[in-house]
């Protein structure tokens, strides 16, 4: 019983099978990300009411908040797939983890940039040591550490396992880091303007926000599939299935 399940998992997690399947999935993810994203942006930028405190500039949250969510979400995906790679020796999981890191780092970077753009009109400075922005910055550093370790180790398998373990250690640490930064912030800043988390958000603002979050997730799905395909091709460049693919070209 377990053996057959295991065989099934191994079959479906083989890079070759993944390469064939993912080609069919990518267009679906990409198109739906585009459609939902455009609709979400339309609702967010034109339909949602103007904020009585922050005016129009608040609308950047429709990018900022989903990007921040994604940066955290992708780190989790990375750690989980790295864990699967370490425990069950599934190469595809390692590839997904390695392919995710730059995407997650980009989202963290996007969240930082949009956050500081929003900060200029709000606080009068591009960078203030706000708790969330600081946590986001630390998350970006965690991504950098992961990617640096991944590229520093020559042997691919060791690189995957070592950086994967680092991702797992990072996941254990993220709540602690988040909590301590939050706590540090309340001590030093006093009560700043409540930022994005209004106690009750207007439904016309909430819907585009959620739509954008879904669009970002789909976008990530499409990108991670593309990147994992490249990763699979590169790593298996000497294996038969890749060679056969090349011959068909």
């Amino acid at each position: 019983m377990f053996k057959s399940i295991w065989r099934w998992i191994q079959r479906f997690s083989s890079p070759k099978y993944f390469y064939e399947m993912s080609a069919k999935l990518i267009p679906w993810f990409a198109v739906s990300a585009l459609v939902i994203g455009v609709y979400g942006l339309y609702l967010g930028l034109f339909v949602a009411p103007t904020d009585y405190q922050q005016g129009e500039s608040y609308r950047i949250i429709f990018i900022h908040v989903p990007a921040a969510w994604m940066s955290l979400f992708i780190y989790m995906v990375m750690a989980i797939s790295a864990g699967i790679g370490i425990i069950w020796q599934i190469r595809l999981a390692d590839m997904v983890a390695a392919a995710s890191a730059p995407i997650g780092a980009s989202f963290a970077f996007l969240a930082l940039v949009t956050g500081s753009l929003w900060g200029k009109p709000m606080w009068g400075a591009y960078w203030v040591w706000d708790a969330r922005l600081t946590s986001e910055l630390i998350l970006l550093f965690l991504y950098f550490g992961y990617m640096a370790l991944q590229s520093a180790i020559d042997d691919q398998r060791s690189a995957d396992k070592a950086s994967g373990l680092l991702a797992i250690v990072g996941v254990v640490n993220i709540p602690i880091i988040h909590y301590s930064v939050e706590w540090w912030n309340t001590l030093h800043q006093g009560a700043t303007v409540a930022k994005f988390d209004k106690p009750s958000m207007h439904i016309d603002m909430l819907i585009p926000l959620l739509l954008m979050a879904v669009a970002f997730k789909l976008f990530y799905a499409a990108i991670v599939l593309i990147r994992t395909r490249n990763e699979a091709l590169y790593r298996d460049r000497n294996r038969r299935w890749v060679r056969e693919l090349i011959e068909k070209l």
Binding site: F144, A148, L149, I153, S158, L165
Partner: protein, 223 residues
């Protein structure tokens, strides 16, 4: 099992004491970095007090970071690490022994040095005692987390900068609570919460970090 722990601990301590001059280096570094700040900023008492907790804690962090190399580097280079992994004893126990030795050789001296630095930075007495407590709770965490980082990077040539890139973000909570405890003590407030937090993180690190380090060492050995 306990015997294996003590044997390895004493071996590392003995090795370190055979090289006494190296032993002092992180300490001297610690004091030197702290000395730079009054020179770079200003030596007035108020200014010193305002920055003292942060400066001392950041310097402690860097001093530990510099000394992490000695945790596994030598054993890796001469092959002893392989022998440790082939021990019938659980690797976690041996890792714990090495981390304990590292703390005795770097963390503890930093704690002992702290009153001097407190004086340098014009800290009041009650803040100095809190500084000692916070370092006492915080430096073992630095050694424990650092051990994970070193065991992942020990096989990398010129892994020093990489190590700091990996480890420093993980040190941030310790830095925040350690420095804040001293800061709060200066204002005569209770530091119970900060010290309890450090204690909790220490308990967590003590239970999880040796496991992670053991896995990391196995990954490193599997080259």
């Amino acid at each position: 099992m306990l015997k294996a722990y003590y044997h390895l601990l004493f071996r590392d301590l003995r090795l370190a004491f055979r090289n006494r001059h190296e032993l002092a280096n992180p300490l001297i570094f610690f004091v030197l970095v702290v000395t730079l700040f009054p020179l770079a900023v200003t030596p007035t008492t108020e200014a010193l007090r305002a920055m003292a907790p942060g400066v001392i804690w950041v310097s402690a962090l860097l001093a530990v970071l510099l000394s992490l190399d000695r945790l596994f580097k030598q054993d890796y280079d001469d092959g002893s690490l392989d022998q440790l992994m082939l021990s019938p004893n659980p690797l976690v126990i041996l890792v714990l022994a090495k981390v304990t030795a590292h703390w005795f050789l770097t963390g503890l001296p930093l704690v002992i040095m702290a009153p001097l630095l407190g004086m340098f930075m014009a800290l009041p007495d009650e803040a100095i005692s809190v500084l000692i407590y916070s370092l006492l709770l915080g430096t073992p965490i630095l050694s424990l987390i650092g051990a994970i980082g070193v065991s992942l990077t020990v096989s990398v040539n010129r892994g020093g900068v990489l190590l700091s890139l990996i480890v420093l973000p993980l040190y941030i909570p310790v830095l925040i609570f350690g420095a804040n405890a001293v800061d709060v003590a200066m204002n005569g407030l209770s530091v119970r919460g900060q010290l309890l937090f450090l204690g909790a993180v220490l308990a967590l690190a003590l239970s999880l970090a040796p496991l992670a380090t053991a896995v990391a060492l196995r990954i490193t050995a599997s080259r």
